[in-house]
């Protein structure tokens, strides 16, 4: 029987068995492997989660690179935060909300003092855990919902609603010379990016003397043709076509609008800051995009700002393919702001208290770091950063850009967006 038995363990069976066993071991073993490699350097830990894979990877990747390079810059050029190097705990969230929840817990467990996140969808997933524990978060891009009403989540920049309000003001002041109310048609991405702009318009359009054409039109991220919706919009003869979306769908809309002959006349196209990047011009073609307006809360690559030189240098060195992408600047600024706040907090409460990364440290970071930020200029790369009570937007400043001969040039200086207290409107974030 013994000889017979040994024959039954065939090579294939053995490989199979070993394969399955090693897969199981791999899954079970990884945490131990990782926990065994802890370090005990004196660092300030900052958490960061970007959607580097999945449907938002086109932005997430760039955002990830900007943050990582900025942290390198901070450690090499600033000499860290108050003399302590910044340790970035980066975790991809794959645009998967349950990953984001885990990430926030991971940041808290690994004693980060704060965390950064880049999209509003992901921030909404993680914010309830963060708010509950008083763990401060900073979002690069955000819809109003993540900090209205204000809790422990902050916005690095004005939100998608502010985009619209600032553009409307600019339009009224500089472009409008007709009679009556200018008509605005909106084309929105079917998520919080689009709805953020819609919220801003719903709150302020009438007050600012605009006529908002309802219904607004929606598109998906995968749209390949918007000829139909634009055809309907054309018949309403709007003065502004406002697109709040990411670059790819925005480019489809602009291209289709161009084909339908909607551009070139009196109608103006404007894009919110999620869509206003180099990729938009690449995708739609420079000639098609000519004259399109856009909002953006940071400087552009060709601008003359004090921090620009180093930013360009680091980008060229580590991620040259991101050169010219405005998301890179935005996330670079995010890291600077988080580090600056940490520096202020270290000065106030000392390294020991902060590095504990417990509830007290989070509170200290929020009270003596974030809330102490006052007119920090972010090395000239974005609008000044200050905290005002009741408004968790750290910066309210936007600039209007225009596509001119294939490049995106600023046409205004910083314009401050007014605070919209959305929670006062009965349609907002129904509970």
């Amino acid at each position: 029987m013994a000889s017979k038995h040994s024959k039954d363990i065939t090579r294939r069976g053995f490989i199979k068995g070993t394969g399955v066993a090693s897969l199981v071991l791999f899954i079970g073993g990884v945490p131990f492997l990782i926990s065994a490699c802890g370090e005990t350097k004196q660092t300030i830990k900052i958490g960061l989660s970007t959607p580097s894979t999945g449907p938002a990877a086109e932005k997430g990747q760039v955002l990830e690179h900007g943050n990582k390079d900025a942290v390198r810059y901070i450690n090499e050029e600033w000499g860290g935060v108050g003399g302590y190097p910044v340790e970035l705990v980066w975790m991809d969230n794959g645009y998967n909300p349950s990953n984001m929840v885990n990430n926030v817990h991971k940041f808290m467990d690994s004693r980060c003092i704060t965390f950064g996140c880049s999209s509003s969808a992901m921030m909404t997933a993680g914010m309830s855990a963060a708010n509950q524990n008083g763990f401060t978060g900073l979002a690069v891009y955000g819809a109003p919902v993540i900090y209205r009403p204000p809790k422990h989540i902050y916005g690095q920049m004005p939100d998608y609603g502010d985009d619209f309000v600032v553009f409307a003001q600019y339009y009224k002041d500089n472009l409008w010379n007709g009679q009556g109310k200018p008509k605005v048609a909106m084309h929105l991405l079917n998520n919080s990016t689009g709805s953020g702009a819609h919220d801003g318009a719903k709150a302020k359009a009438a007050e600012m003397g605009f006529e908002l054409i309802e219904p607004v039109y929606e598109h998906t991220a995968s749209t390949t043709s918007e000829t139909t919706s634009l055809n309907s919009i054309r018949s309403l003869n709007p003065d502004i076509l406002y697109i709040a979306s990411t670059p790819k769908p925005s480019s489809v809309i602009i291209k289709n609008a161009n084909e339908l002959g909607m551009t070139g006349g009196n109608m103006v196209i404007a894009c919110g800051h999620a869509g206003m990047t180099k990729a938009l011009v690449d995708l739609a073609g420079a000639d098609v995009c000519e004259g399109v307006y856009g909002l953006f809360p940071t400087v552009n690559w060709d601008d003359d700002a004090s921090g620009m030189e180093k930013l360009k240098e680091y980008c060229q060195r580590y991620h040259p393919s991101d050169y010219g992408n405005m998301d890179y600047i935005a996330s670079w600024c995010q890291s600077l702001i988080m580090a600056k706040a940490a520096e202020l907090a270290v000065e106030s409460v000392g390294y020991e208290a902060l590095a504990k990364g417990d509830g007290a440290a989070w509170k200290a970071y929020e009270d003596y770091g974030i809330k102490a930020l006052n007119n920090y200029d972010v090395e000239g790369l974005q609008g000044p950063v200050s905290y005002t009570v009741g408004d968790n937007r750290m910066s309210k400043s936007l600039r209007v850009f225009q596509v001119q001969k294939g490049s995106i040039n600023p046409v205004t200086d910083w314009i401050d967006a007014p605070l919209i207290e959305y929670e006062k409107y009965d349609w907002f974030g129904k509970q």
């Binding site: 086109e58 219904p215 039109y217 995968s222 309907s232």
Partner: protein
């Protein structure tokens, strides 16, 4: 009336693009009964690969496209040989799940090689839109529609008359019986995966010419699921007809219904139509009904 013309033309041309992708799905289903969930990801991969060949290495267009097709054939062979072949004779749902794993892998591969996530192909087709009466349509769409029709013709003839084509259909009915006839099912599968990859490549090139390369291609690939179901899982004719139907439904709904309902009704209406159609024709418009005898 001008609106109607515009909606109709947009709908039909957009729908033909869906058809193109849908046929790749039908091809695999018809020969192996596997639902290829990695379809959208394959489209994405080939778009990027084309980008790599044309924009990054700067090959002449014709040579670049030849390389793309060769790569598609090779990849189809690899997928069949190393992923699906070990699973022959296993429960069919496991094969479907394995394409799901492949989908993740391909998605990662694209991110890995082309991390910037969005880009454009060099212009392959003329840009000027074409005017038909009062309606306007991008030229890329007309090209895509033409290629769709061409592929449809070729595939239909192949499956109807060629020895391999008939064997492919037989395999879909009963793999084991085909093997019992001494036919190498593996060769049939690898042939169909190779063809399907070429179709995904063609679809990818056309679609990314229209709207650039981005993750959105994956989602458009998924949209073709509904086209396939409406037309019938195993029918090329179904795919080529259901695509424009879905495209028309979307655009007519988008044009006429948006004012009366919530925004985004355009995306939903095809599903409602499909559910209604299924009550009347449970196997799609042109699908073969399952023959059941107890």
């Amino acid at each position: 009336m001008a609106d109607l013309l515009q909606y109709t033309i947009t709908g039909i041309t957009v729908g033909m693009v869906y058809s193109l992708i849908a046929m790749g799905f039908v091809l695999i289903w018809k020969s192996s009964g596997v639902a290829n969930l990695a379809l959208g990801q394959l489209v994405l991969l080939f778009s990027w690969f084309t980008y790599g060949m044309l924009a990054q290495t700067g090959l002449p267009v014709w040579l670049g496209l030849v390389v793309v097709v060769a790569f598609a054939l090779l990849l189809g062979w690899i997928i069949e040989r190393f992923v699906l072949r070990p699973l022959i004779a296993q429960p069919i749902l496991s094969l479907i799940a394995v394409t799901l794993g492949m989908a993740y892998f391909i998605e990662g591969l694209c991110t890995f090689i082309w991390p910037w996530g969005v880009d454009v192909l060099p212009r392959l087709f003329p840009q000027d839109p074409i005017r038909i009466g009062t309606a306007v349509v991008s030229q890329e769409y007309l090209w895509a529609a033409g290629v769709s029709l061409l592929l449809f013709g070729a595939l239909s003839l192949y499956f109807k008359y060629s020895r391999m084509g008939i064997a492919m259909r037989a395999t879909a009915d009963d793999q084991m019986a085909v093997q019992a006839c001494g036919i190498p099912v593996t060769r049939i599968f690898s042939r169909s995966w190779m063809f399907a990859c070429v179709m995904a490549a063609v679809g990818g090139i056309l679609m990314s010419s229209i709207g650039g390369i981005s993750y959105g291609l994956v989602e458009t690939g998924m949209k073709s699921f509904s086209v396939v179901i409406l037309g019938g899982l195993d029918s090329f004719l179904g795919a080529i007809i259901a695509g424009p139907i879905i495209g028309l439904a979307e655009n007519l709904a988008g044009g006429y219904l948006t004012a009366y309902t919530w925004p985004g009704v355009k995306e939903i209406i095809p599903f409602i139509i499909i559910i209604i159609v299924m009550f009347i024709k449970p196997y799609g418009l042109f699908g073969e009904s399952r023959i059941e005898r107890i």
